[in-house]
Symmetry: C2
Subunit: 437 residues, 2 copies
């Protein structure tokens, strides 16, 4: 019977890696997780499928049409589109089981039916941390977050990156001071500075009906540059008579001060008054992170402070601060730009190759190696030696251990270094010591 063959393929917008890239991806994921854990964040895991009424409690917005929503039986279901809404639901639901400040990390896949486009993914990993306070949360937490970003990206092997920081209160306070009541549209426009430039922003503001003087004030404000201390001085010298502005300035001042104590070098943290980040969510400190040599990649880690995490699920006031690394997109872009490359075709350190009639001894040697924590595969197929060496070569396994009649008789093993070609015959204990180095 000839079966109908279905072409093996996946949907566009979904990332699937070959094992060598997967190993690299997993190493990045592990590094992020280790750093999050080192800072005292606790793991959580939430269902990918949730009730639509829960996931969409906040309603609408740009993302709603991107959501994978469907029914099964009587249930109206949606796939999570971020890890923040599930966190809000989780904290409200398990409130009495949690200890506050609640520091959680969550690494998992989320789903958005984005327009099909290179570098855009419909399934992607987010790696989130958030610190949630019960009723209040000290501003120093906002200074700790950049240090988590800093140490994580250092550990990921990046040298030159900038965590850009701002405070939404400074923006809204400033707008209030120049009688712009609804700052939402203005903020949205300023947020495009990176994409449409100074003139583009100026044009759009003019189309919104702002007069030249006001636009001038806005542009001057957003163009305040310099070291962090210079920017803070400039902002103070503006003497803006607005309480929200003052509060934001005080917060930013604190954050910049404390970030230093957390060990983040001056060059890795820069106040940038054009950073606004979304609009209906963040209320204070906001972060975006850029690779200095690859600005086109855009922000590789973003987040901020919010006043109330779970207002749709509980009356409890839960302020928090957090960040997200969108690892799938980041990985894709780093690979495309050849900034990272897969170094491992395998995680195996030793391929044991038993010759004819030496399988028993070979298997036992394999057990011994694994008992010592050495990642070991035994080549179990019959075949020519050349084929077996070729297998190790293709997988980039650094050592082949040859087990032949001589080795069995003398109770030794022959170890071949696949890189140098060097081959030595020693007893197993000595060989394991060599391998452990």
């Amino acid at each position: 019977m000839d079966k109908q063959i279905v072409k093996p393929s996946i949907l566009p917008g979904f990332m699937e890696l070959t094992p060598n890239d997967q190993i690299l991806f997993n190493k990045m994921l592990d590094t992020i997780r280790e750093n999050y854990e080192k800072f005292g964040f606790l793991p959580i895991d939430t269902p990918v499928i949730e009730k639509s009424e829960v996931l969409l409690a906040k309603g609408g917005g740009d993302t709603e049409k991107q959501i994978y929503r469907f029914t099964k039986g009587d249930n109206d279901l949606s796939l999570r589109f971020d890890l923040t809404v599930p966190l809000a639901r989780y904290v409200a639901q398990h409130f009495s089981d949690l200890t506050f400040p609640f520091r959680r990390y969550h690494i998992g896949k989320v789903y958005r039916g984005e327009r099909n486009q290179k570098g855009r993914f419909r399934e992607f990993y987010q790696c989130d941390i958030d610190i949630i306070g019960n009723e209040k949360l000290d501003i120093i937490n906002d200074a700790e977050i950049p240090s988590v970003i800093y140490y994580t990206f250092k550990d990921l092997g990046f040298e030159s990156f900038t965590i850009k920081i701002n405070n939404r209160k400074i923006l809204s306070g400033f707008f209030g001071s120049i009688q712009i009541e609804d700052s939402v549209e203005v903020l949205r426009t300023i947020d495009k500075m990176d994409k449409i430039g100074l003139d583009g922003v100026s044009d759009e503001l003019s189309k919104m009906g702002l007069n030249a003087e006001t636009i001038d004030k806005i542009m001057t404000f957003t163009q305040i540059k310099g070291t962090n201390d210079e920017i803070l001085s400039n902002l103070k010298e503006m003497n803006v008579e607005n309480d929200v502005f003052k509060e934001g300035l005080e917060e930013l001042d604190s954050v910049v001060k404390y970030v230093k104590y957390f060990g983040v070098p001056e060059e890795n943290l820069a106040i940038d008054l054009t950073i606004a980040r979304g609009l209906d969510y963040y209320t204070g400190t906001v972060y975006e992170t850029f690779l200095n040599e690859y600005p086109d990649i855009g922000s590789i880690c973003s987040g901020g402070r919010y006043d109330n995490l779970a207002e749709y699920y509980t009356k409890q006031k839960l302020p928090g601060v957090g960040i997200c690394i969108g690892l799938t997109r980041l990985f894709y872009q780093l690979r495309e730009a050849n900034i990272i490359e897969s170094k491992w075709n395998s995680l195996t350190e030793v391929l044991v190759v038993p010759m004819e009639d030496c399988m028993e001894y070979g298997i036992k040697i394999g057990n011994q190696l694994r008992n010592e924590g050495i990642h070991t595969q035994i080549y179990l197929e019959e075949g020519k030696m050349g084929k077996k060496f070729n297998y190790a070569d293709k997988l980039g396994i650094p050592y082949v251990m040859i087990i032949g009649a001589d080795e069995v008789k003398s109770e030794k093993v022959t170890l071949k270094n696949m890189k140098t070609g060097e081959q030595i015959m020693r007893d197993i204990d000595e060989t394991m010591n060599i391998l452990k180095k």
Copy 2:
């Protein structure tokens, strides 16, 4: 404005853990992953959403109505219901990028809209390994698999468990020898031995129209007991004149012999002729694993040998052997039966508690601890000391490091062991040495 509050809840049949249980769950997952990697298995990750025509290429079966299937735009989509079908598709699709035998592990969530029932999950983790050959795969691989099971469950902390093993060819060969052409139904019935007992199976076989003599032969056959060597001897002495039977017996004989070399003790591996496992998939060796003291939990790790992994996606013949640990269900049952318990409320080793005006020094000490790999959280909120100690207590953080004016002045730290209450003041290097022990 008073917001409408949506009750925070998740769908029935979905597991969500509190952080302490999540830590335990993750530790089990990590142990499984470490063992899989130690045996030379490579990681892959596939999309949770696939094209329905691909995922359901094999068609129908009992699971089809359980599948989460929906449309988005013009696409007919399904959520993966196991990791085997995606593996088949993956191997066929990436064939030329893979090195055979291809050993892969895959740990991920799968989805089945099961009837709502205690201990049944609609979203659950599977932890799979498979070894895929190109055209052929040596029988010794079937002997290595039980050793992966053995070392993994040992590492998970289990002492007393039995890997039950059988070979489908012995079953189908035997049925062929007693003129039962369509052995599928008979196998399905035998597979229920654990649930409906000897009489139950006998009754059902009778209802299928088998005569008493045949039923008797079947029952006698499935009741062959003893040590592995005794069972193998019994099977040989039956002198069944059927090639498939003979091939199966030879394979089982080999597997039992080689499993010993792989270091699996006799008591952890038992031939059980009633194990059949599914029907249209496995073709040779089959495995099920049981906790000896908790047989009610059912099989905690199952799998087997198949002739052709990806026949729906490629003409390439790809025989393989693999197993699956259904971790979500296993975790649930172990927790319910109090076989495992969460030991950690936190992964943090030290909570640094700076007193008033000592935050700078406290933060810097925190950096030093983390640089040494010690998981460290700094208590950043203002408040009474009692509250801070209480926080460490609730989270089960073993050490609190107190930083007050005396400590800052003398450049020392005070370390409190939360278990013993013992408190010492030393310089930071000495304290870190104590912590590392």
